[in-house]
């Protein structure tokens, strides 16, 4: 007797693109590995085991932990105040907890640098000079303000999902409210912290803009200087590998912690929310805290950008600006459509086929997302130089990198739409005389349209503000908005950078708007669970 061991293989028109994506992500990374081991063993030993590696490792870790910690300190009170108290303006402050995502790290760094120092905005407006933000503290502040919304979103939804009756039982058993917070609420928030912490950690590891502008040496920064300044490519490859290893261990660690927690949570929905706690005289410090947060994370950078914009406005720069804008558009637009197109087969395999190979392929996309962009870019450079030198320094390679890096963000909306579309629809179409691909096109595809539009917009906006991939992979002399913000800022030309920073701010704000329309938090959690398996 013959068995069909698993469900039949997916049709080639889904399978082949999915395989291509998986290969596209893994091949450069594998090649990076090969390249790194090309050196002699003794030389390798010298490269890897030196004090500098330890120094970079320490710096990177210090920054990651610092950003996670300060992010938690920023996010936790905000989440608690907006979900559990009688605070006025909850919607406004919730929005303010998400809005900093609209100010990418390097724009934040630009704002911080532009604010401080003797010629800074602060000095000009108030007459007193803010000390220059530099190094560790500068990087910490910029990254904390940019990334704390990830923690806020996770903690907030966890707080809203907690079963209030557990807290009430604890109260009835004689616990005081502070004890309830410490013994009942905080432990239940752990999964949310892990999930948010993972995203923050990946951002810190992947960040290039902030650490380079603040001149704080982490793996990313060292990778960049190594790549641009010298020709010791083997060391660059090793730095990329170490960065990858760090991201991998972070994923592994958080996944372990998360897997145990997330699935053990009781039902998330509760019929009744908690009774809001009256703030009373604590109102004043609460509003003070919130005002400071909003001022520092949203208002100050926006003011700084606008200040430099007005101060240094020069119409003759319009041409340059339009050139950079079209540069960004020319790379982001095709990448957005390509990515949305590829999201269909990957989401389809993930949702409709349970075989391990299909799940592995879908996960390939998440590896592309979690890989620190600089390491991925370097791997791509090595790979193309060796295998297809013709595409090195062309727009193609940039679009390729955008596509594979942002694919995970595009899969989410398509996957949600696919879950809504029953497989029976396609089967019905088959029984009504349609061959497989036509059945998909006529019965399922129409239901994916809105999801696809969201995916396209997501990737487009994300690519518009992307820095490290653009920086390393774009053709020589190719200008984009993000790259211009960065290069003018490194030269301390804040006025020249302002229009680009403002443009990025606008695109990022649109991105956040889109995030808010969709239930992003769920999608990010999906991402993490996917990554962790």
């Amino acid at each position: 007797m013959s068995y069909s061991e698993t469900r039949p293989l997916p049709p080639w028109y889904f399978f082949v693109p999915a395989i291509a994506v998986g290969t596209g992500v893994l091949l450069p990374l594998v090649y990076l590995l090969v390249r790194a081991f090309e050196a002699e063993t003794a030389e390798l030993f010298q490269i890897v085991f030196r004090i500098r590696t330890l120094y970079l490792f320490g710096n990177t870790l210090r920054l990651a932990i610092g950003v996670m910690g300060s992010g938690a300190l920023l996010a936790m009170p905000l989440a608690w105040l907006t979900t559990r108290t009688d605070l006025k303006g909850v919607r406004f402050f919730t929005l303010m907890g998400v809005l900093p995502l609209a100010i990418p790290g390097y724009v934040m760094a630009y704002a911080l640098l532009g604010l401080s120092g003797p010629n800074g905005t602060f000095a000009e407006l108030f007459g007193t000079t803010l000390p220059r933000f530099r190094g560790y503290w500068g990087a910490l502040i910029a990254l904390s303000f940019y990334t704390f919304p990830y923690l806020f979103l996770n903690v907030r939804s966890a707080l809203l999902g907690l079963d209030v009756t557990i807290e009430e039982s604890a109260r009835s058993l004689g616990s005081r409210s502070w004890e309830v917070f410490g013994r009942i609420i905080l432990p239940q928030l752990r999964p949310a912290f892990y999930a948010g912490g993972l995203l923050v950690g990946l951002h810190v590891l992947g960040d290039f803009g902030v650490v380079s502008l603040m001149r704080y040496e982490t793996f990313s920064y060292a990778l960049y200087t190594q790549y641009t300044a010298s020709y010791d490519r083997t060391y660059a490859a090793w730095l990329a590998l170490m960065l990858l290893a760090l991201a991998g261990s972070l994923l592994y660690l958080e996944a372990r912690l998360l897997r145990e927690k997330v699935f053990h949570r009781a039902g998330t929905g509760t019929a009744r929310g908690a009774n809001p706690i009256a703030l009373g005289r604590w109102q004043i410090p609460a509003y003070f805290y919130l005002a400071t947060l909003v001022l520092a994370s949203v208002v100050a950078p926006t003011v700084a950008i606008c200040f430099w914009m007005v101060k240094g406005f020069d119409p003759s720069h319009l041409r340059d600006f339009l050139e950079a804008l079209s540069g960004s558009l020319m790379a982001s637009t095709p990448a957005a459509f390509l990515t949305a197109g590829l999201a269909i087969p990957l989401a389809y395999l993930g949702v409709r086929y349970s075989s391990s190979i299909c799940r592995a392929l879908e996960r390939g996309a998440y590896i592309g997302y979690a890989t620190p962009p600089l390491a991925f870019a370097l791997a791509l450079i090595f790979f193309t130089l060796r295998v297809v030198p013709g595409v090195y320094q062309t727009l193609w390679i940039l679009i390729y990198a955008y596509t594979l890096h942002f694919l995970a963000e595009a899969i989410g909306p398509v996957r949600s739409a696919l879950y809504q579309a029953s497989p029976r629809l396609e089967e019905t179409a088959r029984s009504l005389g349609y061959p497989p691909f036509k059945a998909f096109l006529k019965a399922t595809f129409p239901l994916l349209r809105s999801g696809l539009m969201v995916s396209t917009a997501f990737v487009f906006l994300a690519a518009m503000k992307e820095l490290p991939l653009t920086f390393l992979l774009s053709p020589v002399g190719y200008e984009t908005l993000a790259v211009n913000v960065w290069s003018y800022t490194t030269e301390a030309m804040f006025a020249e950078a302002a229009p680009y920073a403002l443009a990025i701010l606008i695109f990022s704000a649109l991105f956040v708007g889109l995030l808010l329309i969709r239930d992003t938090n769920q999608e990010y959690r999906d991402t993490i669970i996917k990554v962790s398996r």
Binding site: E427, R430, P435
Partner: protein, 394 residues
């Protein structure tokens, strides 16, 4: 019985059309010499009658380490017949349906439709060329299309005019013509179901498969819809395979039915036959309340803990008997034999008693006038021959 004898005595081919013929065929169960004779004659009729769908020894497993979901499943469906696959969830009935539709690949066995091989060792016709329509439990209406768009979906090959005529004809038939521009979410459950049915019928398939089509309707609507659909199917002469876990639905809807359990067919026959003459304990129990009694058989009678019962056929040795509650009556016990009534359930048009005899409880269904009360001592008597569901043939 009488009428069956008569009809089978006539020239069969003349009468073998529609329901009467199916009714005839449904008699293929029973083992007395007389019944065997009837069956032999019927087998002859069967060959003359057209078998539409023939499922032969179909086996399907989803993974090597799991038991097969369908094992050696064989049955025939005749033209114009409504055939039901009945069984508890997980018995393999839906998988069998999906194998017929072509959504799954069989591991062994063959499926023929009008003599054409659909599924075989090296053959697997894709669903779109099988000419088999399907209505799913959740209807699977295309949410982005109107009622009209849904029904026209399968008619792309017709010229525009013929297509429109056909759609309107079918919509009139199911009484949905006035709603043709609505979207599926603007329809009630019953209306959605009629659209799904119309969509399948429109393409004039050779066979329609219904997968639990009534289970998404609420109880009140279900009854009426079932009647409507049955009338419609019969009026159009549509051959149908229905999958259901609801025994009442299968008994009232189908011309013949197959009872499945654990991937196997336990019994095939007309609703009356399967209900009154179950061949296995499972069938007896699944089709309604029954008393399963062990006994020692000797010829036409068996001795059981509750008395001596006449059997439906002659056997010898240990037997397991099925006695429906409505086939038992009670009388006053004077000699201390029999058992005590432990429960009396008044249900309006009838009464159910639970009688304890020894360690065992027995169910008895009587009409509403039965005078006995809880605590009374009664003796049980069978009004019909008891059915052997397990035991060696003589």
């Amino acid at each position: 019985m009488e009428s069956n004898n008569q009809s089978s005595g006539r020239e069969p081919t003349l009468r073998l059309k529609g329901q009467s013929a199916n009714h005839l065929l449904s008699l293929d169960v029973g083992n007395s010499p007389r019944q065997s004779a009837i069956r032999n004659r019927l087998m002859h009729c069967t060959r003359i009658m057209k078998s539409l769908l023939s499922v032969r020894n179909i086996t399907k497993r989803f993974a090597r380490h799991l038991p097969p979901v369908a094992k050696d499943v064989s049955f025939e469906v005749y033209t114009g017949e409504i055939f039901a696959l009945l069984g508890p969830s997980g018995c393999g009935k839906t998988t069998t349906l999906r194998l017929i539709a072509g959504f799954e690949r069989a591991d062994a066995g063959e499926i023929f439709l009008e003599g054409q091989l659909l599924e075989g060792e090296k053959v697997h016709l894709p669903p779109e060329v099988r000419g088999v329509g399907i209505v799913f439990q959740e209807y699977a209406l295309f949410p982005h299309l109107s009622v009209l768009g849904n029904v026209v979906f399968g008619l792309k090959k017709l010229p525009a005019k013929a297509r429109h005529e056909r759609v309107m004809e079918v919509l009139e038939m199911v009484g949905l013509a006035p709603l043709k521009d609505r979207k599926p979410h603007e329809l009630s459950g019953g209306e959605q179901q009629r659209v799904a049915l119309a969509r399948s019928i429109a393409t004039s398939p050779k066979l329609i498969l219904l997968d639990e089509p009534f289970s998404n309707l609420d109880a009140g609507l279900r009854h009426a819809t079932r009647e409507e659909v049955r009338t419609l199917l019969k009026r159009t002469g549509m051959s149908t395979v229905l999958v259901t876990h609801d025994q009442e639905e299968a008994l009232s809807f189908a011309d013949r039915l197959a009872v499945m359990q654990g991937g196997r067919i336990e019994q095939i026959g007309a609703p009356e036959t399967v209900y009154h003459r179950p061949q296995t304990p499972f069938v007896a129990d699944f089709l309604g309340k029954t008393n399963l009694i062990t006994g020692e058989a000797e010829g036409d009678y068996a001795e059981t803990p509750i008395g001596r019962f006449r059997l439906d056929r002659a056997v010898t040795g240990k037997v397991l008997l099925s006695l429906r509650p409505e086939h038992l009556t009670m009388s006053v016990s004077n000699n201390g034999q029999g058992g005590k009534i432990v429960l009396r359930e008044f249900k309006g048009h009838d009464l159910t008693y639970r009688v304890q005899i020894g360690e065992q409880d027995y169910l008895v269904q009587t009409d509403y006038r039965c005078p006995f009360q809880v605590g009374d001592w009664v003796q049980l008597r069978a009004v019909e021959p008891t059915v052997i569901v397990e035991g060696k043939e003589e």
